[in-house]
C-alpha cells in the first residue's frame, strides 16, 4: 500500500493523543505534523501537502472551517468535533467523514476505511459545497486572506471597499490593500447588505466609509471615501445608495 501522509489539527494535547494512538494500527500512515492552532495548521498544510487531515472545529484564532477556506491544497478530511449540531447536519448532507468525541475504535476504523478508499481512488471530494452550506449563519464578521504562509484576519468593520480584479478581489482596509482569490459577487453575498453596497459592476463600498458623493458629469457620480479615494458609482448603484444615506 502507498504511504499516506496525515496532519492532526486539534488544540487539545489529549485529543491529538487519541488519534495518534488509533493511527498506530495503520503502519502505512505517516503523521507529518501536529498542529494546535489554525495559523500553524494553514502553514503546515501548505508545507506538507498531506493526503489526510484530522480537523477539529473549535480552535483558537481560526476554526476548522476557516482553515478550509484558506487552503488551496485538496485533501481528504475527517472532521473531529465534540458537539456541533449545525455542522453535523451539513456533514450528513454532504457525506463528509466525521468523528464525534469521544469515539470508538470501530467508528474510527469506519471513517478511515472510507477516507482511505477515496484517497486511493485519487479523487478527493470537493469540500466547496460543504463550505457554502456552513456559511448560512449570518453575515461575515471577518475576512481571511492568506499571503504565502501568512494569514491576515480583517474585521469587516475595517474594510472600506472591495474592487474586482480579474479572478481576484482587491480589499482595502485601514490604508492597506489585500488580494484574495474570490469572485466579487460571492463576497458580496457574504457581506452584510445593509452596510456593504455594490455601487458599481466591479466595486463594493462600506457605506460607513463614504465621506460624500460628488457629481462629476451628467448622470455619473463619484463616492469620496474618508481616506480620500474616489470610486465611480453607476446609476443603479446610486439608486441603491440613495436609500441608505
Amino acid at each position: 500500500m502507498n504511504e499516506v501522509s496525515a496532519i492532526i489539527i486539534d488544540d487539545e494535547d489529549l485529543a491529538r493523543m487519541v488519534i495518534r494512538e488509533h493511527l498506530a494500527a495503520y503502519p502505512h500512515i505517516r503523521i507529518v505534523a501536529e498542529c494546535c492552532n489554525g495559523f500553524d495548521a494553514v502553514k503546515q498544510i501548505a508545507k506538507h501537502e498531506p493526503d489526510l487531515l484530522f480537523l477539529d472545529i473549535q480552535m483558537p484564532k481560526l476554526n476548522g472551517f476557516e482553515i478550509l477556506e484558506l487552503i488551496t491544497h485538496r485533501c481528504e478530511i475527517i472532521f473531529v468535533t465534540a458537539y456541533d449540531q449545525f455542522a453535523l447536519k451539513a456533514f450528513d448532507v454532504h457525506a463528509v467523514d466525521y468523528l464525534l468525541k469521544p469515539f470508538s475504535k470501530k467508528r474510527f476504523d469506519e471513517a478511515m476505511a472510507h477516507a482511505l478508499a477515496i484517497i486511493s481512488s485519487g479523487k478527493p471530494e470537493s469540500v466547496e459545497k460543504l463550505r457554502e452550506s456552513l456559511r448560512n449563519d449570518g453575515p461575515l464578521t471577518r475576512i481571511l486572506i492568506r499571503v504565502g504562509e501568512k494569514v491576515h484576519v480583517l474585521p469587516v468593520d475595517s474594510v472600506s471597499s472591495v474592487e474586482a480584479q480579474d479572478d481576484y478581489v482587491e480589499i482595502h482596509a485601514e490604508g492597506k490593500k489585500y488580494l484574495k482569490q474570490q469572485r466579487l459577487s460571492e463576497l458580496e453575498s457574504l457581506l452584510d447588505p445593509q452596510r456593504f453596497i455594490r455601487v458599481h459592476r466591479s466595486i463594493i463600498v462600506n457605506i460607513d466609509c463614504i465621506a460624500r458623493i460628488e457629481l462629476y458629469a451628467k448622470d455619473s457620480r463619484l463616492a469620496v471615501l474618508r481616506d480620500g479615494r474616489k470610486l465611480p458609482i453607476s446609476r443603479t448603484g446610486y439608486e441603491k445608495l440613495k436609500g441608505r444615506l
Binding site: 487539545e12 487519541v18 495559523f39 483558537p60 484564532k61 465534540a82 469521544p102 474585521p155
Partner: protein, 346 residues
Amino acid sequence: MHPFLSNRSSVLFYFVLWILIGAASSFFFVHGTALPIFCAAYAGLGGLSLSSWFVVRSIGIRMMRPSMLIGIGIVSSVVITSFWLAGFYVLVQSSGDTLLRTAVLTQFRTIGFTGAIMSLLVFAIHLLLLSAQEQRIQQEEAIQLKMLAREAELRALRTQIDPHFLFNSLNSISALALNDGKRTREMTVALSEYLRATLTQGSQDFVSLQDEGELVERYLSIEKIRLGNRLQVSIDISPATLQAQIPPLLLQPLVENSLRHGIASLIEGGMLTITAMMHNTDVIVEIKNPFDPSDRSARSRGMGQDNVRRRLAAAFPDLSHLSTAADERYYTVTLRFPFTSGGNLS
C-alpha cells in the same frame, strides 16, 4: 399623563358633568340667573381639581397612612377651592350685575364649602385610579420576575449539560484511560463532582459564595486537564465573603465565558484571576482573563452574561451591579452585591 386627559371622550364627559353641576348650582343659589357664569365657574373648578392627580402621584400612596392621605386631600382641595373662589369673585364682580353680586356674596361660604367637597371627591377618585394602576404594575412585575426565575432555571439546566464541555471532558478521559490510570480516575471524579454539584445547587434559591467557589474550582480543574498549561488559575476569595449568599451558578457561566472567549482562544493561553472581597457592606467579585483584542467575539459575551446580570438584579433589586471592562489585554467582569449571610435573607 392624567388618566382623564388621555382620550377625548373622557375629557368631554368630565367637563360636561361639571357644566351640569354649574347649571344646578345656578338654580340652587340664584334661581337660574347667570347660568353661563356659573357653568364657566364650575368647569373651572373641574379643571383646577385635575391638578390633585399630580399631588396623588408624587406622594407615593403605598407608603402613606390613611389619615395622612385624608389630610393631604383636605389641604389640596382647600388650596384648589381658594384659587377657584378668588376667580369666581372676579368673574361675578366683572359681570357688573349688583343683584347677582349680593346673592353670591351672601352665600359665599356655602359655595366654597360645597366646592371643596367636590374637589375632595375628585381627589378620592384620583387616589382610587392610581392605586388600581399601581396594583396592575405590581402584578406585571411579579409575572416578569417569575419568568426570569424560570429562564434562570432553564439556563442552569443547560449549564449542567453544556455538551461541548461534557463531550470534550469525556474525550480527555478516553485519551488518558490507556496511559494514565491515576489521572483518568482523578478526572472522572472531578467531572462527577462537578455534575453533582450543579445538580444540587441548581435546585436551590441561594448558595454561599464558598459553595459556588468550590463548584468553579472543580470546573476549572477539569478544564485544566483539557487545556494543559495554557490555563493558569489564581483564586483569592477573602474569608469574610465566604458566607455571602448568591443565586446558584452565578459565577460559573462567567468563568466559562472567560475560558471560551478568552483563554481558550489564545494560542499561548493565560492566567484566569478570580477575587472576592468586602467593600463596606458589599461583596465585590472580579473575574479577569487575558483575551485577543482582535477577536470580536471576545467582547460580546452574549446570553450567558445577560442572564447573570438579570439574575443578580432579581436577587438584589437596585442594590447590585455587574460591569465589564476591557483594555488592550484583559477583560474584566465585576459583580457587586450586598453581603447577606444565610440567616437574614427574606
